[in-house]
Symmetry: C2
Subunit: 289 residues, 2 copies
Protein backbone atom coordinates (compact mmCIF):
# COMPACT_ATOMS: atom_id res chain seq x y z
CA UNK A 1 0.00 0.00 0.00
CA UNK A 2 1.46 3.31 -1.05
CA UNK A 3 1.44 6.18 1.35
CA UNK A 4 -1.80 8.11 1.57
CA UNK A 5 -2.23 11.75 2.63
CA UNK A 6 -3.93 10.53 5.84
CA UNK A 7 -0.69 8.78 6.85
CA UNK A 8 0.76 12.20 7.63
CA UNK A 9 -1.25 12.18 10.84
CA UNK A 10 0.39 8.93 11.97
CA UNK A 11 3.81 10.36 11.24
CA UNK A 12 3.05 13.55 13.12
CA UNK A 13 1.46 11.72 16.04
CA UNK A 14 4.66 9.76 16.47
CA UNK A 15 6.50 13.04 17.05
CA UNK A 16 4.11 13.99 19.85
CA UNK A 17 4.38 10.56 21.45
CA UNK A 18 8.14 10.91 21.62
CA UNK A 19 7.83 14.49 22.86
CA UNK A 20 5.52 13.37 25.67
CA UNK A 21 7.76 10.46 26.54
CA UNK A 22 10.93 12.54 26.65
CA UNK A 23 9.50 15.68 28.23
CA UNK A 24 11.39 17.94 25.82
CA UNK A 25 11.75 21.72 26.19
CA UNK A 26 9.14 23.61 24.19
CA UNK A 27 11.79 25.22 21.97
CA UNK A 28 13.24 21.82 21.02
CA UNK A 29 9.72 20.57 20.50
CA UNK A 30 8.93 23.41 18.08
CA UNK A 31 12.09 22.77 16.09
CA UNK A 32 11.45 19.06 15.92
CA UNK A 33 7.82 19.49 14.83
CA UNK A 34 8.78 22.07 12.19
CA UNK A 35 11.48 19.81 10.76
CA UNK A 36 9.16 16.82 10.58
CA UNK A 37 6.45 18.95 8.95
CA UNK A 38 8.95 20.21 6.36
CA UNK A 39 10.09 16.64 5.67
CA UNK A 40 6.52 15.39 5.34
CA UNK A 41 5.58 18.26 3.02
CA UNK A 42 8.05 16.79 0.54
CA UNK A 43 7.49 13.12 1.28
CA UNK A 44 7.39 10.81 -1.71
CA UNK A 45 3.94 9.33 -2.23
CA UNK A 46 5.37 6.59 -4.44
CA UNK A 47 6.71 4.93 -1.29
CA UNK A 48 4.87 3.08 1.45
CA UNK A 49 4.04 4.72 4.74
CA UNK A 50 6.32 2.20 6.48
CA UNK A 51 9.18 3.63 4.48
CA UNK A 52 8.24 7.23 5.28
CA UNK A 53 7.67 6.42 8.97
CA UNK A 54 11.20 4.97 9.04
CA UNK A 55 12.53 8.26 7.64
CA UNK A 56 10.44 10.32 10.06
CA UNK A 57 11.79 8.18 12.87
CA UNK A 58 15.39 8.79 11.73
CA UNK A 59 14.72 12.53 11.79
CA UNK A 60 13.14 12.39 15.26
CA UNK A 61 15.89 10.30 16.84
CA UNK A 62 18.65 12.38 15.23
CA UNK A 63 17.03 15.58 16.45
CA UNK A 64 16.58 14.40 20.04
CA UNK A 65 19.98 12.66 20.05
CA UNK A 66 18.60 9.31 21.20
CA UNK A 67 18.44 6.38 18.76
CA UNK A 68 15.98 4.42 20.89
CA UNK A 69 13.63 6.63 22.95
CA UNK A 70 11.28 3.71 23.58
CA UNK A 71 14.00 1.43 24.99
CA UNK A 72 12.55 1.39 28.53
CA UNK A 73 8.96 1.22 27.37
CA UNK A 74 9.78 -1.77 25.17
CA UNK A 75 11.57 -3.49 28.02
CA UNK A 76 8.61 -2.83 30.30
CA UNK A 77 6.13 -4.40 27.91
CA UNK A 78 8.35 -7.39 27.23
CA UNK A 79 8.66 -7.89 30.99
CA UNK A 80 4.92 -7.56 31.60
CA UNK A 81 4.09 -10.10 28.93
CA UNK A 82 6.86 -12.45 30.07
CA UNK A 83 5.32 -12.39 33.55
CA UNK A 84 2.07 -13.54 31.99
CA UNK A 85 3.66 -16.10 29.66
CA UNK A 86 2.82 -19.23 31.69
CA UNK A 87 -0.76 -18.12 32.31
CA UNK A 88 -1.22 -17.46 28.60
CA UNK A 89 0.37 -20.78 27.63
CA UNK A 90 -1.98 -22.60 29.98
CA UNK A 91 -4.95 -20.71 28.53
CA UNK A 92 -3.96 -21.85 25.05
CA UNK A 93 -3.40 -25.46 26.08
CA UNK A 94 -6.72 -25.67 27.86
CA UNK A 95 -8.85 -24.99 24.80
CA UNK A 96 -9.71 -27.63 22.24
CA UNK A 97 -8.09 -25.96 19.26
CA UNK A 98 -4.79 -24.76 20.71
CA UNK A 99 -3.42 -23.78 17.32
CA UNK A 100 -6.31 -21.42 16.61
CA UNK A 101 -6.20 -20.08 20.17
CA UNK A 102 -2.48 -19.33 19.85
CA UNK A 103 -3.05 -17.71 16.46
CA UNK A 104 -5.79 -15.47 17.84
CA UNK A 105 -3.69 -14.64 20.83
CA UNK A 106 -0.83 -13.60 18.55
CA UNK A 107 -3.16 -11.38 16.51
CA UNK A 108 -4.78 -10.04 19.68
CA UNK A 109 -1.30 -9.13 20.89
CA UNK A 110 -1.10 -6.71 18.01
CA UNK A 111 -3.28 -4.37 20.05
CA UNK A 112 -0.84 -4.07 22.93
CA UNK A 113 -0.32 -0.38 22.91
CA UNK A 114 2.76 1.03 24.49
CA UNK A 115 1.46 4.57 24.80
CA UNK A 116 -0.36 4.25 28.10
CA UNK A 117 0.87 3.19 31.49
CA UNK A 118 -1.00 -0.04 31.72
CA UNK A 119 -0.65 -2.86 34.15
CA UNK A 120 -0.29 -6.50 33.19
CA UNK A 121 -3.77 -7.42 34.49
CA UNK A 122 -5.34 -4.79 32.27
CA UNK A 123 -3.34 -5.85 29.24
CA UNK A 124 -4.26 -9.48 29.83
CA UNK A 125 -7.92 -8.60 30.13
CA UNK A 126 -7.80 -6.91 26.74
CA UNK A 127 -5.84 -9.75 25.18
CA UNK A 128 -8.31 -12.34 26.49
CA UNK A 129 -11.16 -10.20 25.28
CA UNK A 130 -9.65 -10.12 21.79
CA UNK A 131 -9.06 -13.86 21.89
CA UNK A 132 -12.80 -14.36 22.11
CA UNK A 133 -13.47 -12.21 19.07
CA UNK A 134 -14.03 -13.83 15.70
CA UNK A 135 -11.44 -12.90 13.08
CA UNK A 136 -12.99 -10.46 10.60
CA UNK A 137 -10.99 -12.06 7.79
CA UNK A 138 -10.23 -15.68 8.59
CA UNK A 139 -7.92 -17.66 6.32
CA UNK A 140 -6.61 -19.70 9.26
CA UNK A 141 -7.69 -23.00 7.67
CA UNK A 142 -5.55 -22.12 4.66
CA UNK A 143 -2.67 -21.23 6.93
CA UNK A 144 -2.89 -24.61 8.66
CA UNK A 145 -2.90 -26.35 5.29
CA UNK A 146 0.12 -24.35 4.14
CA UNK A 147 2.03 -25.08 7.33
CA UNK A 148 1.68 -28.81 6.60
CA UNK A 149 3.68 -28.34 3.40
CA UNK A 150 6.15 -25.86 4.87
CA UNK A 151 9.74 -26.65 5.71
CA UNK A 152 11.07 -23.14 6.18
CA UNK A 153 8.83 -20.58 7.82
CA UNK A 154 9.77 -16.91 8.12
CA UNK A 155 7.80 -15.20 10.88
CA UNK A 156 8.03 -11.40 10.77
CA UNK A 157 7.67 -9.86 14.22
CA UNK A 158 6.02 -6.56 14.92
CA UNK A 159 5.90 -4.96 18.37
CA UNK A 160 7.47 -5.47 21.75
CA UNK A 161 5.31 -7.15 24.37
CA UNK A 162 3.42 -8.81 21.55
CA UNK A 163 6.61 -10.75 20.74
CA UNK A 164 5.92 -13.03 23.74
CA UNK A 165 2.65 -14.04 22.08
CA UNK A 166 4.49 -14.66 18.81
CA UNK A 167 6.75 -17.00 20.74
CA UNK A 168 3.77 -18.92 22.15
CA UNK A 169 2.23 -19.20 18.68
CA UNK A 170 5.52 -20.43 17.25
CA UNK A 171 5.70 -22.99 20.09
CA UNK A 172 2.27 -24.31 19.07
CA UNK A 173 3.26 -24.38 15.40
CA UNK A 174 6.39 -26.34 16.22
CA UNK A 175 4.52 -28.72 18.47
CA UNK A 176 2.23 -29.53 15.57
CA UNK A 177 4.95 -29.54 12.90
CA UNK A 178 8.17 -30.58 14.69
CA UNK A 179 10.26 -30.71 11.51
CA UNK A 180 9.61 -27.10 10.60
CA UNK A 181 12.48 -24.60 10.59
CA UNK A 182 11.33 -21.24 11.91
CA UNK A 183 13.14 -17.96 11.37
CA UNK A 184 11.98 -14.97 13.36
CA UNK A 185 12.58 -11.65 11.58
CA UNK A 186 13.31 -8.52 13.61
CA UNK A 187 14.14 -4.95 12.57
CA UNK A 188 17.75 -4.07 11.87
CA UNK A 189 17.61 -0.93 14.02
CA UNK A 190 15.33 0.41 16.75
CA UNK A 191 12.24 2.00 15.21
CA UNK A 192 9.32 3.05 17.41
CA UNK A 193 8.38 -0.01 19.54
CA UNK A 194 9.17 -2.62 16.91
CA UNK A 195 11.08 -5.73 17.85
CA UNK A 196 14.86 -5.82 17.51
CA UNK A 197 17.45 -8.50 18.21
CA UNK A 198 17.60 -7.34 21.82
CA UNK A 199 13.87 -7.90 22.35
CA UNK A 200 13.95 -11.31 20.70
CA UNK A 201 16.77 -12.32 23.02
CA UNK A 202 15.05 -10.84 26.05
CA UNK A 203 12.02 -13.08 25.53
CA UNK A 204 14.09 -16.16 24.68
CA UNK A 205 12.91 -16.38 21.08
CA UNK A 206 16.05 -18.37 20.19
CA UNK A 207 14.54 -21.38 21.98
CA UNK A 208 11.87 -21.69 19.28
CA UNK A 209 13.32 -19.95 16.21
CA UNK A 210 16.45 -18.64 14.58
CA UNK A 211 16.44 -14.87 14.98
CA UNK A 212 17.24 -12.89 11.85
CA UNK A 213 17.72 -9.12 11.64
CA UNK A 214 16.32 -7.52 8.48
CA UNK A 215 19.04 -4.88 8.29
CA UNK A 216 16.55 -2.05 7.90
CA UNK A 217 15.11 0.65 10.14
CA UNK A 218 11.77 1.01 8.36
CA UNK A 219 8.56 0.55 10.33
CA UNK A 220 7.71 -2.73 8.67
CA UNK A 221 9.52 -4.71 6.00
CA UNK A 222 10.60 -2.55 3.06
CA UNK A 223 12.22 -5.42 1.17
CA UNK A 224 14.64 -3.47 -1.01
CA UNK A 225 16.04 -1.81 2.12
CA UNK A 226 16.69 -5.11 3.88
CA UNK A 227 20.00 -6.96 3.84
CA UNK A 228 20.85 -9.43 1.03
CA UNK A 229 20.84 -12.23 3.64
CA UNK A 230 17.34 -11.32 4.76
CA UNK A 231 16.10 -10.99 1.17
CA UNK A 232 17.44 -14.44 0.41
CA UNK A 233 15.63 -15.93 3.40
CA UNK A 234 12.45 -14.10 2.46
CA UNK A 235 12.63 -15.42 -1.11
CA UNK A 236 13.43 -18.98 -0.18
CA UNK A 237 10.97 -19.33 2.71
CA UNK A 238 8.06 -21.63 1.84
CA UNK A 239 5.79 -19.47 3.91
CA UNK A 240 5.90 -16.05 5.54
CA UNK A 241 3.75 -15.13 8.54
CA UNK A 242 3.68 -11.36 8.70
CA UNK A 243 2.54 -9.73 11.92
CA UNK A 244 1.07 -6.25 12.20
CA UNK A 245 -0.03 -3.39 10.04
CA UNK A 246 3.46 -2.02 9.33
CA UNK A 247 4.58 -5.30 7.78
CA UNK A 248 1.30 -5.53 5.88
CA UNK A 249 1.53 -2.01 4.51
CA UNK A 250 5.08 -2.50 3.30
CA UNK A 251 4.56 -5.99 1.86
CA UNK A 252 0.96 -5.78 0.67
CA UNK A 253 1.87 -5.45 -2.99
CA UNK A 254 4.23 -8.40 -2.76
CA UNK A 255 3.57 -10.87 -5.60
CA UNK A 256 4.08 -14.64 -5.69
CA UNK A 257 5.40 -15.07 -2.17
CA UNK A 258 3.19 -17.17 0.08
CA UNK A 259 2.34 -14.77 2.92
CA UNK A 260 -0.27 -14.85 5.67
CA UNK A 261 -0.93 -11.47 7.23
CA UNK A 262 -1.85 -11.48 10.92
CA UNK A 263 -2.90 -8.09 12.15
CA UNK A 264 -5.33 -5.89 13.97
CA UNK A 265 -6.75 -3.17 11.70
CA UNK A 266 -5.57 0.08 13.21
CA UNK A 267 -6.66 2.86 10.87
CA UNK A 268 -9.41 3.92 8.51
CA UNK A 269 -7.21 3.55 5.51
CA UNK A 270 -6.40 -0.12 6.10
CA UNK A 271 -10.01 -0.61 7.17
CA UNK A 272 -11.15 0.61 3.73
CA UNK A 273 -8.52 -1.47 1.93
CA UNK A 274 -9.36 -4.70 3.75
CA UNK A 275 -13.08 -3.98 4.06
CA UNK A 276 -12.94 -4.78 7.76
CA UNK A 277 -13.65 -2.59 10.79
CA UNK A 278 -10.99 -0.72 12.77
CA UNK A 279 -9.88 -3.00 15.66
CA UNK A 280 -10.89 -6.05 13.63
CA UNK A 281 -8.56 -9.06 13.87
CA UNK A 282 -7.30 -10.45 10.58
CA UNK A 283 -5.62 -13.61 9.32
CA UNK A 284 -5.42 -13.09 5.56
CA UNK A 285 -3.68 -14.97 2.81
CA UNK A 286 -1.66 -12.85 0.36
CA UNK A 287 -4.25 -12.34 -2.39
CA UNK A 288 -1.54 -12.19 -5.10
CA UNK A 289 0.17 -15.52 -4.39
Amino acid sequence: MLMHPECMLCNLNQVYRVINLMGLEEEVEKQLVSKVLAFLSEADYSRTNSHIMGETWKLITKEIGDPDPYARVKEKYNTLLLQAESELRNAILQVENSFLAALRLAVAGNQIDFAGRREVSFILKEVYHCMEQELVIDDSTGLLRELEKTRKLLYLGDNCGEIVLDKLFIEMIRKRYPNLTVLYGVRGRPVVNDVTLEDARMVGMERVARIIENGSGALGTVLNETSPEFQEIFKTADLVISKGQGNFESLSECRDQQIYYLLMIKCERVSRALKGPVNGLVCMRNPFS
Copy 2:
Protein backbone atom coordinates in the same frame (compact mmCIF):
# COMPACT_ATOMS: atom_id res chain seq x y z
CA MET B 1 -2.43 31.71 24.24
CA LEU B 2 0.37 31.46 21.73
CA MET B 3 0.41 28.60 19.28
CA HIS B 4 1.82 25.36 20.63
CA PRO B 5 3.41 22.55 18.56
CA GLU B 6 0.37 20.37 19.34
CA CYS B 7 -1.86 22.86 17.49
CA MET B 8 -0.38 21.55 14.23
CA LEU B 9 -2.61 18.50 14.58
CA CYS B 10 -5.74 20.67 14.71
CA ASN B 11 -4.61 22.54 11.63
CA LEU B 12 -3.89 19.33 9.78
CA ASN B 13 -7.13 17.69 10.89
CA GLN B 14 -9.03 20.58 9.39
CA VAL B 15 -7.54 19.70 6.00
CA TYR B 16 -8.80 16.12 6.26
CA ARG B 17 -12.26 17.27 7.33
CA VAL B 18 -12.53 19.44 4.23
CA ILE B 19 -11.12 16.64 2.07
CA ASN B 20 -13.75 14.22 3.39
CA LEU B 21 -16.51 16.76 2.97
CA MET B 22 -15.56 17.64 -0.59
CA GLY B 23 -14.57 14.17 -1.78
CA LEU B 24 -11.47 15.47 -3.56
CA GLU B 25 -9.36 13.49 -6.01
CA GLU B 26 -6.37 11.84 -4.34
CA GLU B 27 -3.91 13.91 -6.40
CA VAL B 28 -5.55 17.20 -5.31
CA GLU B 29 -5.60 15.87 -1.77
CA LYS B 30 -1.85 15.14 -1.83
CA GLN B 31 -1.07 18.61 -3.16
CA LEU B 32 -3.28 20.29 -0.60
CA VAL B 33 -1.82 18.30 2.31
CA SER B 34 1.75 18.97 1.14
CA LYS B 35 1.09 22.70 0.86
CA VAL B 36 -0.47 22.90 4.30
CA LEU B 37 2.42 20.88 5.79
CA ALA B 38 4.93 23.24 4.17
CA PHE B 39 3.04 26.27 5.49
CA LEU B 40 2.83 24.80 9.00
CA SER B 41 6.53 23.91 9.00
CA GLU B 42 7.23 27.65 8.84
CA ALA B 43 4.34 28.85 10.99
CA ASP B 44 5.12 31.64 13.40
CA TYR B 45 4.90 30.49 17.03
CA SER B 46 4.67 34.08 18.23
CA ARG B 47 1.07 34.13 16.97
CA THR B 48 -2.01 32.45 18.36
CA ASN B 49 -3.35 29.24 16.90
CA SER B 50 -6.53 31.11 15.93
CA HIS B 51 -4.38 33.29 13.73
CA ILE B 52 -2.56 30.33 12.16
CA MET B 53 -5.82 28.39 11.68
CA GLY B 54 -7.15 31.41 9.79
CA GLU B 55 -4.11 31.28 7.49
CA THR B 56 -4.40 27.50 7.07
CA TRP B 57 -8.04 28.01 6.18
CA LYS B 58 -7.14 30.63 3.55
CA LEU B 59 -4.70 28.17 2.01
CA ILE B 60 -7.26 25.34 2.00
CA THR B 61 -10.08 27.40 0.49
CA LYS B 62 -7.79 28.94 -2.13
CA GLU B 63 -6.48 25.51 -3.11
CA ILE B 64 -9.92 23.91 -3.44
CA GLY B 65 -11.38 27.05 -5.04
CA ASP B 66 -14.28 27.34 -2.61
CA PRO B 67 -14.31 30.12 0.00
CA ASP B 68 -16.95 28.40 2.15
CA PRO B 69 -16.85 24.60 1.95
CA TYR B 70 -18.97 24.27 5.10
CA ALA B 71 -21.78 26.49 3.77
CA ARG B 72 -24.32 23.67 3.58
CA VAL B 73 -23.20 22.04 6.81
CA LYS B 74 -23.56 25.35 8.62
CA GLU B 75 -27.00 25.90 7.16
CA LYS B 76 -28.00 22.39 8.20
CA TYR B 77 -26.96 22.89 11.82
CA ASN B 78 -28.61 26.29 12.03
CA THR B 79 -31.80 24.73 10.68
CA LEU B 80 -31.67 21.78 13.09
CA LEU B 81 -31.21 24.03 16.09
CA LEU B 82 -33.88 26.47 14.88
CA GLN B 83 -36.30 23.54 14.73
CA ALA B 84 -35.53 22.88 18.37
CA GLU B 85 -35.61 26.53 19.44
CA SER B 86 -39.09 26.53 21.04
CA GLU B 87 -38.46 23.28 22.90
CA LEU B 88 -35.19 24.64 24.25
CA ARG B 89 -36.77 27.97 25.24
CA ASN B 90 -39.47 26.11 27.13
CA ALA B 91 -36.87 23.97 28.85
CA ILE B 92 -35.07 27.10 30.00
CA LEU B 93 -38.25 28.82 31.18
CA GLN B 94 -39.39 25.80 33.15
CA VAL B 95 -36.42 25.71 35.50
CA GLU B 96 -36.11 27.93 38.54
CA ASN B 97 -32.94 29.73 37.49
CA SER B 98 -33.58 30.44 33.82
CA PHE B 99 -30.54 32.67 33.49
CA LEU B 100 -28.20 29.91 34.64
CA ALA B 101 -30.01 27.34 32.51
CA ALA B 102 -29.66 29.54 29.43
CA LEU B 103 -26.00 30.16 30.22
CA ARG B 104 -25.31 26.43 30.55
CA LEU B 105 -27.24 25.74 27.39
CA ALA B 106 -25.14 28.30 25.53
CA VAL B 107 -21.93 26.72 26.81
CA ALA B 108 -23.29 23.23 26.11
CA GLY B 109 -23.96 24.37 22.55
CA ASN B 110 -20.24 24.76 22.14
CA GLN B 111 -20.05 20.98 21.76
CA ILE B 112 -22.27 20.87 18.69
CA ASP B 113 -19.89 19.28 16.31
CA PHE B 114 -20.45 19.67 12.61
CA ALA B 115 -18.24 16.76 11.61
CA GLY B 116 -20.77 13.95 11.94
CA ARG B 117 -24.12 13.51 10.31
CA ARG B 118 -26.20 13.86 13.39
CA GLU B 119 -29.92 14.28 13.76
CA VAL B 120 -31.61 16.93 15.83
CA SER B 121 -32.84 14.44 18.47
CA PHE B 122 -29.29 13.25 19.02
CA ILE B 123 -27.91 16.78 19.22
CA LEU B 124 -30.61 17.77 21.68
CA LYS B 125 -29.88 14.75 23.84
CA GLU B 126 -26.25 15.79 24.06
CA VAL B 127 -27.11 19.41 24.73
CA TYR B 128 -29.53 18.45 27.52
CA HIS B 129 -26.94 16.12 28.93
CA CYS B 130 -24.41 18.97 29.03
CA MET B 131 -26.96 21.27 30.62
CA GLU B 132 -27.08 18.96 33.61
CA GLN B 133 -23.32 19.03 34.05
CA GLU B 134 -21.77 21.34 36.60
CA LEU B 135 -19.47 23.96 35.11
CA VAL B 136 -15.85 23.00 35.87
CA ILE B 137 -14.97 26.68 36.27
CA ASP B 138 -17.99 28.66 37.39
CA ASP B 139 -17.80 32.44 37.59
CA SER B 140 -21.48 32.79 36.64
CA THR B 141 -22.29 34.69 39.83
CA GLY B 142 -19.67 37.25 38.86
CA LEU B 143 -21.11 37.44 35.36
CA LEU B 144 -24.57 38.16 36.75
CA ARG B 145 -23.14 40.89 38.96
CA GLU B 146 -21.30 42.42 36.02
CA LEU B 147 -24.38 42.34 33.81
CA GLU B 148 -26.21 44.47 36.38
CA LYS B 149 -23.68 47.26 35.82
CA THR B 150 -23.45 46.77 32.05
CA ARG B 151 -24.97 49.08 29.47
CA LYS B 152 -23.17 47.83 26.39
CA LEU B 153 -22.54 44.12 26.06
CA LEU B 154 -20.48 42.61 23.22
CA TYR B 155 -21.24 38.93 22.75
CA LEU B 156 -18.72 37.12 20.52
CA GLY B 157 -20.31 34.21 18.67
CA ASP B 158 -18.53 30.99 17.85
CA ASN B 159 -20.10 28.21 15.79
CA CYS B 160 -23.14 27.67 13.64
CA GLY B 161 -25.97 25.74 15.24
CA GLU B 162 -24.72 26.92 18.61
CA ILE B 163 -25.70 30.46 17.56
CA VAL B 164 -29.36 29.59 18.23
CA LEU B 165 -28.44 28.89 21.85
CA ASP B 166 -26.55 32.19 22.02
CA LYS B 167 -29.76 33.87 20.89
CA LEU B 168 -31.76 32.16 23.66
CA PHE B 169 -29.18 33.19 26.24
CA ILE B 170 -29.23 36.79 24.98
CA GLU B 171 -33.04 36.70 25.21
CA MET B 172 -32.78 35.71 28.88
CA ILE B 173 -30.15 38.39 29.52
CA ARG B 174 -32.36 41.05 27.94
CA LYS B 175 -35.40 39.86 29.84
CA ARG B 176 -33.51 40.36 33.09
CA TYR B 177 -31.77 43.57 32.02
CA PRO B 178 -34.10 45.27 29.52
CA ASN B 179 -32.00 48.42 29.19
CA LEU B 180 -28.93 46.59 28.02
CA THR B 181 -27.59 47.15 24.50
CA VAL B 182 -26.30 43.89 23.04
CA LEU B 183 -23.96 43.62 20.07
CA TYR B 184 -23.39 40.18 18.57
CA GLY B 185 -19.97 39.77 16.95
CA VAL B 186 -19.54 37.50 13.93
CA ARG B 187 -16.53 36.72 11.73
CA GLY B 188 -15.79 38.98 8.78
CA ARG B 189 -15.38 36.04 6.38
CA PRO B 190 -16.34 32.36 6.37
CA VAL B 191 -13.83 30.34 8.38
CA VAL B 192 -14.54 26.70 9.20
CA ASN B 193 -18.02 26.55 10.79
CA ASP B 194 -17.80 29.88 12.60
CA VAL B 195 -20.73 32.28 12.51
CA THR B 196 -20.90 34.98 9.86
CA LEU B 197 -23.43 37.71 9.13
CA GLU B 198 -25.41 35.24 7.04
CA ASP B 199 -25.81 32.81 9.95
CA ALA B 200 -26.77 35.55 12.38
CA ARG B 201 -29.47 36.70 9.95
CA MET B 202 -30.62 33.14 9.34
CA VAL B 203 -31.37 32.63 13.02
CA GLY B 204 -32.93 36.08 13.48
CA MET B 205 -30.25 37.39 15.80
CA GLU B 206 -31.17 40.96 14.86
CA ARG B 207 -34.31 40.58 16.98
CA VAL B 208 -32.21 40.47 20.15
CA ALA B 209 -28.91 42.15 19.26
CA ARG B 210 -27.15 44.39 16.77
CA ILE B 211 -25.01 42.17 14.58
CA ILE B 212 -21.45 43.36 14.04
CA GLU B 213 -18.91 41.77 11.68
CA ASN B 214 -15.35 41.72 13.02
CA GLY B 215 -13.76 42.19 9.59
CA SER B 216 -11.37 39.26 10.06
CA GLY B 217 -11.17 35.67 8.83
CA ALA B 218 -9.25 34.28 11.79
CA LEU B 219 -10.73 31.36 13.74
CA GLY B 220 -11.50 33.46 16.79
CA THR B 221 -10.94 37.13 17.50
CA VAL B 222 -7.44 38.28 16.57
CA LEU B 223 -8.04 41.88 17.63
CA ASN B 224 -5.38 43.61 15.55
CA GLU B 225 -6.80 41.94 12.44
CA THR B 226 -10.34 43.16 13.11
CA SER B 227 -11.84 46.34 11.64
CA PRO B 228 -11.40 49.72 13.39
CA GLU B 229 -15.17 49.79 13.99
CA PHE B 230 -15.08 46.41 15.70
CA GLN B 231 -12.02 47.36 17.77
CA GLU B 232 -13.81 50.48 18.94
CA ILE B 233 -16.86 48.48 20.01
CA PHE B 234 -14.66 45.93 21.75
CA LYS B 235 -12.83 48.67 23.64
CA THR B 236 -15.93 50.59 24.66
CA ALA B 237 -18.08 47.61 25.64
CA ASP B 238 -18.61 47.42 29.40
CA LEU B 239 -18.53 43.66 29.17
CA VAL B 240 -17.58 41.03 26.60
CA ILE B 241 -19.03 37.52 26.61
CA SER B 242 -16.69 35.38 24.52
CA LYS B 243 -17.95 32.02 23.28
CA GLY B 244 -15.78 29.07 22.40
CA GLN B 245 -12.17 28.02 22.45
CA GLY B 246 -11.12 29.95 19.34
CA ASN B 247 -12.18 33.26 20.86
CA PHE B 248 -10.56 32.28 24.16
CA GLU B 249 -7.27 31.31 22.55
CA SER B 250 -7.04 34.53 20.60
CA LEU B 251 -8.16 36.83 23.45
CA SER B 252 -6.76 35.01 26.47
CA GLU B 253 -3.88 37.43 26.96
CA CYS B 254 -6.22 40.40 26.72
CA ARG B 255 -5.59 42.80 29.61
CA ASP B 256 -8.00 45.19 31.34
CA GLN B 257 -11.09 44.39 29.28
CA GLN B 258 -13.91 42.82 31.27
CA ILE B 259 -14.41 39.46 29.54
CA TYR B 260 -16.27 36.31 30.53
CA TYR B 261 -15.20 33.24 28.59
CA LEU B 262 -17.89 30.64 27.94
CA LEU B 263 -16.53 27.49 26.39
CA MET B 264 -16.21 23.76 26.35
CA ILE B 265 -12.60 22.63 26.77
CA LYS B 266 -11.76 20.85 23.54
CA CYS B 267 -8.08 19.93 23.69
CA GLU B 268 -5.34 18.86 26.07
CA ARG B 269 -3.53 22.12 25.74
CA VAL B 270 -6.44 24.28 26.90
CA SER B 271 -7.19 21.61 29.50
CA ARG B 272 -3.70 22.07 30.95
CA ALA B 273 -3.94 25.87 30.77
CA LEU B 274 -7.32 26.06 32.51
CA LYS B 275 -6.71 23.07 34.81
CA GLY B 276 -10.03 21.57 33.76
CA PRO B 277 -10.82 18.30 31.97
CA VAL B 278 -11.39 17.97 28.22
CA ASN B 279 -15.16 18.34 27.56
CA GLY B 280 -15.50 20.41 30.75
CA LEU B 281 -17.86 23.39 30.56
CA VAL B 282 -16.41 26.72 31.59
CA CYS B 283 -17.68 30.18 32.52
CA MET B 284 -14.52 32.07 33.48
CA ARG B 285 -13.84 35.71 34.21
CA ASN B 286 -10.83 37.21 32.44
CA PRO B 287 -8.15 36.77 35.12
CA PHE B 288 -6.31 39.92 33.98
CA SER B 289 -9.19 42.39 34.26
